[in-house]
């Protein structure tokens, strides 16, 4: 083969790459030459291979695991930047934040003479998945959807928003760091603070300023007064109107009336479980642990404290930590993670199913029927969205419709548990919640049986039915002896006169 012919072939190939005109004779030559010249033929084969791209350099996860992970990310809590909110909401929030800052600055001036205080830095230290944005600016809006969202403020303040909670980082001034709680529950943990600094959680009903170490503030969904609870140390309550009260450890008070009450030991046990997470977390420069779990409904516990459901990315102090993952009908797993300084560790845990789910699976849809997919999925999705917006009555109705649409499918049954939770926590209707949990437990679906039984116990407790609660706890401990949180249930059982 003449080298000139190979050169001509290469030139034509290059011109093709650059979209240049190739006449008929050249086109014919290009094809014919590649069939008779081994070198050019092989090169052509290589180019064709490149079109298909080389094999992946990492292992491609299973479709199921990928979808679990992607769906979790789709619904993950996010640090809301301007573009994430509709304009009218953003505008409203900006006005509210500005007003809050104005009020706060006026109050600060009355209390202290600090004019130009140095600023704290704030970063995300725990969320559903590690995002690119971790540093937070003053005015940042935070929203936790299905998993707690935790942040760290220098020096030594950790705040964890519970699922559904919303807040804004109103001030990072060290003299008056301020988190404005808009919705839901926030747990705060403080290391000893330097003199001249303060940290306050503001609500519509008043402010809670930290003096001690571990406390929480909750805005009830029914529009009632915000409540502060102190577990260690003390906080100062400033009722919106002027009254100031000191709240000490094991005390709670509504901000509207600042009437101080004690926290009973049984309540403290449950409330502490909600408030303990920030105490376990590290600082922004501590090792990062990214945990992915399948199934996404799996409960993740860290050093004995429940983190939440599904994936999580957490900053933890270096050392050893115990991670427990469990999900209904799956074999639980416990792992010890050793973290060195500056490390980033990623772990994926796939729980194996213990008992095959005998409930009939919905038949795989034909392609042409994809647009008419099970309505329960769509309704559940909508219900979750409405719930996160605080539209609880609408969400409850959507859960009921999801169940009615597919009363025997796994999704339709799962809607009952979600409905029970909503009725119990948001709508404060324990009787209705009890019915929803019982209805689920009568169904053939077993995937959420632990959640349903726990919900039932809480509903019975709210209804004051101690005897039935005792029976329910005893049954739960027999059926799920290694479940996360059994220690609390045993304590509760002793408190209400059980064995």
């Amino acid at each position: 083969m003449s080298p000139f012919e190979c050169e001509r072939w290469a030139t034509i190939s290059d011109r093709r790459l650059l979209d240049e005109h190739i006449d008929e004779a050249d086109e014919r030559f290009e094809v014919e030459h590649a069939t008779v010249c081994e070198a050019c033929g092989l090169e052509r084969a290589r180019w064709a291979e490149l079109k298909r791209l080389p094999a992946p350099t990492v292992q491609v996860p299973s479709t199921r695991a990928l979808v679990e992970s992607l769906r979790a990310q789709l619904h993950a809590p996010h640090v809301t930047k301007q573009a994430k909110w509709p304009r009218w909401v953003a505008a409203g929030m900006a006005v509210a934040a500005a007003a809050s800052l104005l009020v706060h600055q006026t109050r600060s001036r009355k209390r202290t003479e600090v004019v130009k205080a140095p600023h704290a830095e704030a970063s995300i230290i725990a969320q559903a998945s590690a995002g690119a944005v971790t540093a937070l600016a003053e005015g940042a809006w935070l929203r936790a959807t299905d998993t707690p969202l935790c942040l760290y403020m220098t020096p030594g303040v950790r705040a964890c928003l519970s699922p559904g909670a919303e807040a804004t980082l109103a001030s990072l001034s060290l003299a008056a760091r301020r988190l404005v709680l808009v919705r839901g529950h926030v747990a705060i943990s403080l290391e000893p603070q330097p003199p001249g600094t303060s940290f306050t959680v503001s609500t519509r009903d008043g402010d809670v300023t930290a003096v001690g170490t571990l406390f929480s503030v909750e805005l009830p969904k029914d529009g009632g007064s915000a409540e502060a609870r102190v577990f260690h140390g003390a906080v100062r309550l400033h009722k919106a109107g002027g009254t100031e009260v000191l709240l000490r450890a094991h005390q709670r008070a509504k901000l509207a009336d600042t009437l101080v009450q004690g926290i009973s030991s049984e309540d403290e046990h449950i409330l502490m479980a909600q408030a303990r997470l920030p105490d376990l977390l590290g600082k922004p420069d501590d090792p990062l642990v990214q945990l992915a779990v399948v199934p996404q409904i799996a409960t993740l516990a860290l050093d004995g404290a429940i983190v939440g459901r599904g994936n999580a990315a957490l900053r933890l102090p270096a050392g050893s930590h115990v991670v427990t993952i469990e999900a209904p009908s799956h074999a639980s797993q416990t792992h010890t993670i050793s973290l060195g300084a500056g490390e980033t560790i990623r772990r994926s845990y796939v729980l194996t199913q213990e008992v095959p789910n005998l409930a009939p699976l919905p038949q795989a849809p034909r392609t042409t029927e994809v647009a008419r997919m099970p309505r329960a999925a769509t309704l559940l999705n909508e219900a979750r969205t409405r719930r996160s917006r605080g539209e609880h009555t609408t969400a409850a109705s959507l859960y009921q419709r999801a169940h009615a649409a597919e009363p025997t499918s796994a999704l339709g049954c799962a809607a009952l548990v979600a409905l029970g939770e909503l009725q119990l926590v948001e709508l404060r209707k324990p009787e209705a919640a009890l019915k929803s949990f019982d209805q689920y437990l009568r169904s053939r679906d077993q995937a959420l049986v632990i959640e349903a039984r726990l919900g039932r116990i809480r509903a019975l407790r709210q209804l004051g039915k101690s005897q039935e609660e005792r029976q329910a706890i005893t049954l739960f401990l027999q059926q799920h002896p290694s479940s996360v949180g059994v220690a609390g249930l045993r304590q509760r059982l002793r408190d209400i006169g059980g064995p």
């Binding site: 790459l17 791209l53 094999a55 992946p56 350099t57 990492v58 491609v60 996860p61 997919m373 999705n381």
Partner: protein, 204 residues
């Protein structure tokens, strides 16, 4: 005034297109089975795209998953003007390019330095068992601007103008990069052929 109706593209007239539209619409609405089918169809390809374009960097897995997430997020924008795979490729490429830019600490490679001035380390000679050499080895030997330009043009069919927009360089530089990348690729492929033949003949 009556606006003449745009004729549907050839792709839009196929039964496959109808199926793809339904599938993507259902995935956009959050339907899990549809999302599973869509991801199952695209995952391998997306991991290949991320592995090829994000070569030599950490986080291929994250970038591939990020691209898949982008597909789910922007599924509602699928109009069916091209095939599902072509549309998805474009979503993935856009995401990977964004990730590359975000990770680039030094933008000199894109903006200031002529690719001819950048070193092009030749890959180490292969042993007989390794021949023919993997394409990944050739891509590793190209600098990032050359590799990206070549892939955008050859593997994804972007026009020179589109590549110029994506990479932020003038079209003439895109042409220069393409020719340079193709020459290096050709040299490597032909060298492997010659070395392979020699090894086969027992000359080395």
């Amino acid at each position: 005034m009556v606006t003449p109706r745009k004729a549907p593209s050839p792709v839009a007239q196929t039964p496959q297109w109808q199926e793809d539209r339904l599938l993507v619409n259902a995935a956009a609405a959050g339907d899990r089975p549809a999302q599973e089918r869509l991801i199952g169809r695209l995952a391998q390809r997306f991991y290949r795209i991320a592995s090829s374009m994000f070569r030599g960097r950490e986080g291929v897995d994250d970038v591939a998953q990020g691209s898949l997430l982008e597909v789910l997020r922007s599924a509602h924008t699928f109009r069916g003007e091209s095939s599902l795979e072509t549309w998805a490729d474009r979503v993935a490429v856009r995401h990977v390019m964004h990730a590359i830019r975000a990770q680039q600490e030094d933008n000199a490679a894109w903006d200031a330095v002529d690719p001819d001035d950048l070193p092009h380390p030749e890959p180490a000679p292969l042993t007989w068992e390794e021949l023919p050499g993997g394409l990944g080895r050739y891509l590793d030997a190209l600098t990032e601007p050359l590799r990206t330009t070549l892939l955008l043009r050859h593997a994804f069919g972007y026009s020179l103008q589109e590549i110029a927009e994506h990479t932020g360089v003038p079209v003439r530089r895109v042409r220069k990069r393409l020719l340079r990348a193709k020459l290096l690729f050709r040299k490597m492929a032909r060298k492997d052929q010659v070395v392979g033949k020699r090894i086969k003949r027992g000359e080395t």
